[in-house]
């Protein structure tokens, strides 16, 4: 019985990683950059929801929508100011470092605006929890909401990227920006849209993250960001289903590692599994192993 | 002994049989051509010969020694060097260093000697410079030896690739479309260079080319590939006049 309950724990933790990883992988897949500031956009999103609800007394759903709008604009602004000028830089690492700069910036901005102390995040998800086996197994409303949201986003993104014109434009841009322009694709707008979507998702992720673990500081996004990055790589970075599966697996491994091996070295276990998976499958679970044609 | 002997080479990609039952046998010191329509499998043959792909079937022998299925690195050590259809230079290195990189395992000193600048470093580096310069002179690249490879004009980049391949001291040199992107004058110059290299360095050359002026100008024998299979082979003049080759490849 405890195994199943651990499994459920793992899935609920993993679903949080998954939802963050989806945003990560979306941006990576198109813009081919590791947006290290993604975790911090999540944090900003959560602060927006918190302040809307507690200070302005806004309805939670509207608060989340406002937060999505704020994050979308923030994401687009970051892209325009900090990333776009480096798009044609001679090394892709340049924009990675700038993303780190943006991450520091957002953390310290939040520190000044919202203060250093942890804020308790209100419980805004009113979905009832499910009790199984005479209450021995409980799936909380937040977990259910997270998983449902995750699946919706997964399906939505998959449809969007594969079936819409904008989605196809994204694929083209991700491969060769010059050639994409020659197809008549507005590359700037497409990348901007990618960041808009990724950051909008970050707002949702921030809300769900803080609903599940209701403690919010300017640094709340950092570690989940890294874990989600790990999850995205685990699933094959750039792959949308990979991010979801990677996230959930990561959560499950973390919980089972804690439960059955050692809670002190749970982090090491997670990373060790990641390494083993990558050694066996160098491009992650769902990553395409593309051989360069010689 | 033949320079190269290939028997029944096969490879498929998914369902696509890219190369089927490919046989080839080249005399030492020959200048041999591999031609065929686009997508016939010529580059794939090169990739099989150099270990980039492992053949599904078949045997490759270099001067009698079986090199089938070896790694690219080992095959080069055994004596096969190549150029690429899409140029692959060490872009951020100087022209001279591109060639010296190819001399890495020919002129040796220990890494320790390199770091701490022991006498063997200076002695060997001097030899390497001389050797590399000598090769660059053949290709008329010695004046550009200190500029970055990526700053060379296209034609010279192709030549540098040949020079680099040559520096590994090969028995067999594989050239994949060496004249692509060159204008007629440059092509003529290249033909002379290839001939000179073959004679001067005492090697065997196998080349892929679509420029018939070059093929008929320097190749002694040809194999024609079509849909992954050998269409015909023989003396250049004879092959180029075969109706099958004309319909499949040459046109008119």
């Amino acid at each position: 019985m405890s195994f199943i309950s651990y499994l459920i724990n793992g899935i609920s933790l993993g679903s949080i990683y998954a939802i963050i990883a989806l945003g990560y992988t979306m941006v990576y897949g198109i813009a081919k950059m590791l947006n290290f500031a993604h975790g911090d956009v999540i944090m900003i999103g959560a602060f927006v929801v918190l302040n809307m609800v507690t200070l302005a007394g806004v309805n939670p759903i509207i608060a989340v929508l406002i937060s999505m709008a704020v994050c979308t604009l923030l994401g687009m602004a970051i892209e325009k100011i900090a990333y776009k000028p480096l798009r044609n830089a001679s090394s892709p690492l340049a924009v990675l470092i700038t993303a780190i700069g943006v991450s520091y910036f957002l953390q310290n901005l939040a520190l000044i605006i919202f203060g250093a102390d942890a804020k308790s995040f209100p419980n805004l998800i009113t979905l009832p929890s499910i009790s199984l086996a005479d209450g021995k197994l409980v799936i909380t409303g937040t977990t259910i909401a997270t998983i449902i949201t995750c699946v919706i986003i997964l399906l939505g993104l998959t449809f969007f990227v594969n079936k819409t014109k904008q989605g196809r434009a994204m694929k083209a841009v991700s491969e060769d920006k010059g050639a994409a322009m020659l197809m008549g694709i507005n590359v700037n707008a497409t990348i901007s849209l990618t960041f808009a979507i990724g950051s909008g998702l970050a707002a949702i992720a921030g809300f769900l993250l803080c609903s599940a673990y209701p403690s919010l500081t300017p640094y709340t996004g950092a570690m989940p960001g890294i874990k989600a990055f790990t999850a995205a790589v685990f699933g094959g970075i750039g792959s949308i289903p990979g991010a979801m599966i990677g996230g959930i697996l990561l959560g499950v491994i973390e919980i089972l590692g804690k439960a059955y091996i050692s809670s002190q070295v749970a982090d090491a276990i997670v990373f060790a599994v990641l390494i083993i998976v990558l050694l066996v499958k160098p491009t992650g679970l769902f990553g395409k192993n593309i051989q360069e044609k010689v | 002994m033949k320079a190269l002997e290939v028997k029944n080479l096969c490879i498929s990609f998914g369902g696509l049989r890219a190369v089927q039952g490919f046989d080839l046998s080249i005399e030492k010191g020959a200048l041999y051509g591999l031609i065929g329509p686009n997508g016939a499998g010529k580059t794939t043959v090169f990739n099989l010969l150099t270990g980039v792909y492992k053949p599904d079937e078949g045997i490759v022998k270099l001067e009698g020694k079986d090199i089938t299925g070896l790694k690219t690195t080992a095959i080069n050590r055994a004596g096969v060097a190549r150029t690429f259809q899409n140029i692959r230079l060490f872009k951020d290195m100087s022209v001279l260093d591109n060639v010296k990189a190819a001399l890495t395992d020919i002129y040796k000193y220990s890494t320790f000697a390199g770091i701490f600048r022991l006498p063997s470093y200076f002695k060997t580096e001097k030899l390497m410079n001389e050797k590399a310069t000598e090769i660059l002179e053949v290709f008329d690249l010695d004046k550009e030896k200190n500029i970055l490879a990526s700053n060379l004009p296209y034609g010279k980049q192709r030549k540098l690739e040949i020079a680099r391949a040559l520096a590994t001291n090969p028995k067999l040199l594989l050239l994949d479309e060496p004249a692509a992107g060159m204008n007629p004058n440059e092509t003529i110059e290249l033909m002379n260079t290839i001939r000179f290299v073959r004679d001067h360095f005492d090697i065997t050359v196998l080349l892929i080319e679509h420029d018939m002026k070059l093929v008929s100008g320097i190749c002694e024998e040809l194999t024609v590939l079509n849909f992954g299979e050998v269409l015909t082979k023989g003396k250049t003049s004879k092959v180029l006049n075969e109706p099958a080759v004309i319909t499949a490849y040459l046109g008119e």
Partner: protein
């Protein structure tokens, strides 16, 4: 220092000779910023009060706090910056590891150091270093004693942060003392700062071990998550914690009913001193002070008391000040927010811990 005037509690624009320069060091940015900021606020409040009341024997205090991002190396940088500023005494550092590094520098330079909240044993290794808070071993030992004395439970489960000195330090000593007190540790599960969100596994194990009491030698942010997750699991153990739990009521009172903690400071205590402090803190900083702020407040008053006892003057060298202060620290008794404190030779404070229990969202004395 011209610019500092605005934020050092109004020390006046005195020249270097006529002020005592006290340097504060702690994390004002980074993940531990909440503790550093609390210390800064508490200390500034005390400095302001003292200066308004005429300073230390008529000499005002100038206080300057530098950020160390909770990093030992940056802490030493902050210390050196303050030295360049002319610091005569250190009030810091806030967190343990940086404090170990800084106190070793300060011992070399012979500068007097009083840490409000550095709990590690080595944080006050030198003869020049003292502290206001309890040390980790103290808290671990006292917790075990208290639990045994008050018969709160025989079988104990522990959840602690194995990656931070504070929590690990208390845990280790708790385990040691528990044995002496005849307590049985039935489950001891760790977590790390890198995975401090989900505690269901640790809770499940505590639950399965049929413990009478859950001991949480951790900080309140994680404790709050633990309590909520326990609640969601339908697990309602008796909970006992240390001073790190203080602050939990301001953070989120949900699920804290019945939690007991050993803390020297209780923000809703009804003695005049606390009331006054909490009130002025709230009016200055718009939040309820946590124990770190109280420790810092006491630290400044302790410095005042010792300085007055030592009869030091601002024109003395930092080293002379240190020598005198060291001696005087052993003479003074401070009626502080965190208790009535005397100091021992080794720099440790001698004070009584208070144990409280949360009832109706308020601390109630447990004794």
């Amino acid at each position: 220092g011209k610019k500092e005037d605005s934020d050092n509690g109004g020390s006046g624009s005195s020249s270097d000779e006529s002020v005592f320069k006290i340097g504060g060091i702690g994390p004002l940015t980074g993940e531990a910023a909440v503790y550093g900021v609390a210390v800064k606020n508490g200390a500034e409040l005390a400095v302001k009060e003292i200066n308004e009341a005429g300073g230390i024997d008529g000499v005002p205090i100038e206080f300057k706090m530098e950020d160390d991002v909770h990093d030992a190396e940056k802490s030493v940088n902050a210390y050196n910056t303050l030295k360049d500023w002319g610091m005569q005494m250190v009030m810091g550092t806030v967190t343990s590891d940086p404090c170990i590094a800084v106190q070793s520098e300060a011992a070399n330079d012979n500068i007097f150091l009083l840490t409000p909240s550095g709990t590690a044993v080595d944080a006050i290794k030198g003869p020049n270093a003292f502290r206001v808070c309890f040390s980790d071993p103290d808290q671990g030992t006292k917790s075990a004693e208290f639990i045994a004395d008050h018969d709160l439970g025989k079988k104990i489960a522990v959840i602690y942060d194995s990656s931070i000195t504070y929590s690990k330090g208390i845990y280790d000593n708790f385990v040691k003392e528990a044995k002496n007190q005849g307590l049985e540790i039935v489950s001891a599960e760790a977590y790390t700062t890198d995975s401090n969100k989900d505690f269901k596994v640790q809770l499940q194990k505590a639950k399965d071990s049929n413990a009478d009491l859950l001991f949480l030698p951790i900080y309140y942010q994680e404790a709050s998550l633990i309590l909520k997750q326990a609640d969601a699991m339908g697990y309602a153990p008796k909970v006992f914690g240390c001073d790190g739990l203080d602050g939990i009521l301001n953070f989120d009172a949900e699920g804290t009913e019945g939690v007991m903690l050993l803390t020297p400071f209780v923000a809703n205590a009804d003695d005049e001193l606390t009331k006054h402090f909490v009130e002025s803190y709230k009016s200055s900083y718009k939040e309820t002070p946590i124990q770190f702020a109280a420790d810092a407040y006491d630290a400044i008053y302790a410095i005042k008391a010792a300085a007055e006892d030592a009869k030091i003057t601002p024109d003395m060298s930092a080293s002379d000040i240190s020598d005198k202060m060291q001696a005087s620290m052993l003479n003074i008794e401070v009626e502080g927010l965190t208790g009535t404190i005397q100091w021992k030779e080794d720099g440790e404070p001698n004070k009584e811990p208070k144990a409280v229990i949360i009832e109706d969202g308020e601390y109630q004395s447990l004794d």
